[in-house]
């Protein structure tokens, strides 16, 4: 920019200097008898010079616009036609003269939106606060009576023409955790999309979701019991996904992921080679403009901690189904989502393989622009013993605006537990432990948070 301004200045100055040098020869002519004529000639020369300079300035401005790209506000003149300062007006004049209706563009109109100069090359930054209160007696609950459960800080931006980066840092009350941080390669051949970094694995639906997009304050029992709890299968590695060939009515996508092998209490990797893998196949179909169905099959495999050397394997199989309804013309007022997800776990232990199963189903209905009501049923085996838990929730959510939400959740859980209850033999099934709780959640977002995948 500055270079161009300097160039223009130099050009103008040198032109004037040149003009100054050329002027003297015309002075003697002016002293002759034909003085008025030479005055006119002089003015003509000046006019010509001005026209030439105008042309140069237009050309330079056009070059400047071209080089600075679309971000710069376009100059008033048509940049595509440099060095023709007078050409546009005669054309319009002709059109007007020919009687054709003409609505010329006002020349002083600034085109284009405001340029977000303030944030120039900074990434989009946002913070999402998640406050959870938990009333009721439940020794197994993940939530204390009140907690600033999470502050998710996101930095998101394009890296270069071939990639973008997304970072999600989860600040708890006591520590920081890189929830996700990955590079997405968007310009790979053959429509591949690859990710490198730490990410939530594409195992089922709920495992991929951040806390603030969940329709509940907590996560299903299945997640806590079989898929690593709140963090879930979340590990460092690489991911490749691609839309697969399928009939026109079907969207089919395959994802293959390879991770280091450390994910909460699901997978551990005592050896460098103890990698874990995740595969996901997703089918999606629009039943109508308003209704669609989404099916997923997931597989994951990694080493578990049943023996210290990590020789034992855990296999996880998952199925998920989502039915969505949203009337397009009243999209902001009404919607309905039903989900169900099931996970089978096969965990090699010291001398046998322990099988476990868990599932949940939930439904959410949007009553109006700001109100959502929902319910969820949970059932899940424990991964490491023969007991199982079950429970149900009723959820009411209110959104003062797009950027805040208040949620109440009544949760009833039946824990089929044993070991942590004082006075009982570890590993034995005892009478279930029933809890009733009221969860209160307040979530609020500031800054520019990028949209989440559907």
């Amino acid at each position: 920019m500055r270079a161009v301004i300097v160039a223009i200045t130099v050009l103008l100055t040198s032109s004037l200097a040149l003009f100054g040098q050329q002027a003297p020869p015309s002075v003697p002519a002016a002293q002759n008898a034909a003085a008025p004529q030479s005055e006119a000639a002089k003015i003509k020369t000046l006019e010509d010079r001005v026209a030439a300079l105008e042309a140069q300035v237009t050309a330079l401005t056009a070059a400047l616009t071209a080089s600075s790209g679309a971000a710069a506000p376009a100059p008033a003149q048509q940049p595509a036609q440099p060095a023709q300062p007078g050409a546009a007006q005669p054309a319009e004049a002709q059109a007007a003269a020919a009687g054709a209706p003409s609505y010329p563009t006002p020349d002083n109109t600034t085109l284009g939106g405001a340029t977000g100069q303030a944030k120039a090359l900074n990434p989009d930054i946002s913070v999402i606060g998640d406050f959870i209160g938990d009333a009721g007696h439940n020794p197994y609950s993940a939530f204390p009576s009140m907690s600033m459960h999470e502050a998710e800080v996101a930095f998101q931006s394009v890296v270069d023409p071939y990639a973008r980066a997304d970072f999600f840092l989860s600040f708890g009350e006591e520590g920081v955790n890189l929830e996700e941080g990955y590079l997405t390669l968007t310009a790979l051949p053959h429509s591949f999309v690859a990710k490198v970094g730490k990410m939530r694995a594409a195992f089922g639906k709920v495992n991929t979701l951040h806390n603030h997009v969940l329709p509940w304050a907590d996560r299903p029992l299945m997640t806590y019991n079989l898929v690593g709890g709140e963090d879930g299968i979340n590990d460092a590695g690489v991911s490749v996904q691609r839309i697969l060939p399928a009939p026109k009515w079907l969207f089919l996508e395959g994802t293959a992921q390879m991770f280091r092998g450390d994910s909460a209490d699901v997978f551990t990797a005592p050896n460098k080679n103890d990698l874990s893998v995740v595969g996901h196949l997703r089918g999606y179909h629009d039943l109508t403009d308003n209704t669609n169905i989404d099916l997923g099959f997931s597989y994951s495999r990694g080493h578990n901690d049943s023996v210290p050397d990590g020789q034992n394997i855990t296999n996880l199989y998952g199925v998920d189904a989502t039915l969505r309804w949203k009337p397009l013309q009243r999209a902001i007022y009404h919607s309905f989502i039903a989900r169900a997800e099931a996970v089978w776990s096969e965990r090699e232990e010291l001398d046998f393989e322990r099988k476990a199963f868990g599932w949940y189903t939930s439904a959410d209905y949007q009553l109006g622009r700001r109100w959502f009501v929902g319910g969820r049923y949970d059932w899940s085996d424990h991964q490491r013993n023969s007991a199982h838990d079950s429970g149900g929730s009723f959820i009411l959510t209110y959104l003062p605006s797009e950027f805040a939400q208040i949620r109440g959740q009544y949760r009833n859980t039946r824990y089929g537990m044993f070991a942590n209850v004082p006075g009982e033999t570890p590993g034995s099934n005892i009478n279930p432990f029933r809890t009733n709780e009221l969860l209160m959640q307040v979530q609020f977002a500031i800054g520019a948070h990028g949209a989440h995948p559907f």
């Binding site: 054709a100 609505y103 969207f251 395959g254 893998v277 403009d289 520019a448 559907f454």
Partner: protein, 312 residues
């Protein structure tokens, strides 16, 4: 090599095999164009004629702020040569993940097949000074509903024609000719619209959302207030009472509502003030009979003129 790695390699090989099977069949000559909204599709169609296949992601009767990023759109975006967007963060809630997941390098922002139409248009309501969400869902880059001024329609069409000519230089003459034809028809239509609106210059109206600044400026309407207390914030009782008082005081008799908003509040305001509610279309395709850029204005003008006449 562990079993895990073997398995992963198997998965990858499988995916690559699928890819090769799916290699695109020889492309037809037509440019494959996706737009975020129907208005951009309509303008692209005007210029591109039968040299292009155009489809919009959003429907004309949908709120363009809240479109679902359905995976079925990925199937179309994946094959697009060009993606034309409104920009100014209008689509920020749904388009970026679609673009990222499309696996189509051409339509990534900054790519040769990504065209932000806002660069060609006159943008109003660019906020100056501090911008915060206390103002509601403001658009820091300016009001994105800019296509509702025919002058901007003309500018966008020219920008699209230039882009199409770059992508398909062999048909430059064809696109230029179609652009000229479009401009001529638009100029004639503007004469008609101007004369239709001439008796109502300076009429005071209330609109639901800030969708109409360009339209109001072009056709000399005076938007005095909004049903929404702030952009994107649903109507509140206190604001509605104030609005009714103001409409009575200023004698405002027309309420413009976009087809995707609930009519409850506008209707109750109308019955309290004797005003008329007009469901104006902000986009082509808002009703099935509005299929191009001209019909959009014809349709809206007719509704407006009828409403203005009915309320003196």
């Amino acid at each position: 090599m562990t079993q895990a790695i073997k398995r992963t390699i198997f998965f990858l090989a499988l995916t690559i095999a699928f890819t090769l099977v799916a290699s695109p069949i020889a492309e037809a000559k037509k440019l494959n164009i996706m737009t975020s909204t129907t208005d951009l599709a309509a303008l692209t169609q005007e210029v591109g004629g039968d040299k292009v296949d155009v489809e919009s992601i959003a429907r004309g009767y949908q709120d363009p702020h809240f479109v679902e990023a359905k995976p079925s759109f990925l199937l179309k975006l994946r094959r697009a040569d060009l993606l034309v967007v409104v920009g100014l963060d209008l689509e920020i809630g749904w388009l970026p993940p679609l673009i990222t997941q499309s696996g189509n390098p051409k339509i990534q922002p900054g790519g040769a097949g990504y065209l932000d139409a806002s660069q060609f248009a006159e943008i109003l309501e660019k906020p100056s000074g501090q911008v915060s969400r206390a103002m509601g869902d403001v658009h820091p880059l300016g009001n994105p509903h800019y296509w509702l001024d025919p002058s901007n329609g003309r500018r966008i069409a020219q920008g699209i024609a230039e882009k199409l000519s770059q992508m398909d230089p062999g048909d430059r003459a064809y696109f230029t000719q179609r652009l000229d034809d479009f401009n001529k028809r638009l100029a004639e239509a503007e004469k008609r619209w101007d004369s239709e609106m001439a008796p109502f210059k300076g009429r005071k109206v209330v609109t639901y959302h800030k969708s109409w600044p360009n339209f109001a400026k072009r056709f000399d309407l005076n938007v005095v207030e909004y049903i929404e207390p702030r952009p994107g914030i649903p109507p509140s009782p206190s604001h509605t009472l104030q609005l009714i008082a103001q409409m009575k005081r200023d004698n405002v008799k027309t309420i413009l509502v976009e087809p995707y908003f609930d009519l409850k509040t506008p209707n109750s305001v109308a019955s309290a003030t004797g005003a008329k509610v007009v469901v104006m279309l902000p986009s082509v395709g808002g009703t099935p009979d509005v299929t191009n850029y001209f019909q959009l204005f014809d349709h809206d003008m007719k509704l407006l003129v009828d409403a203005f006449n009915a309320t003196k």
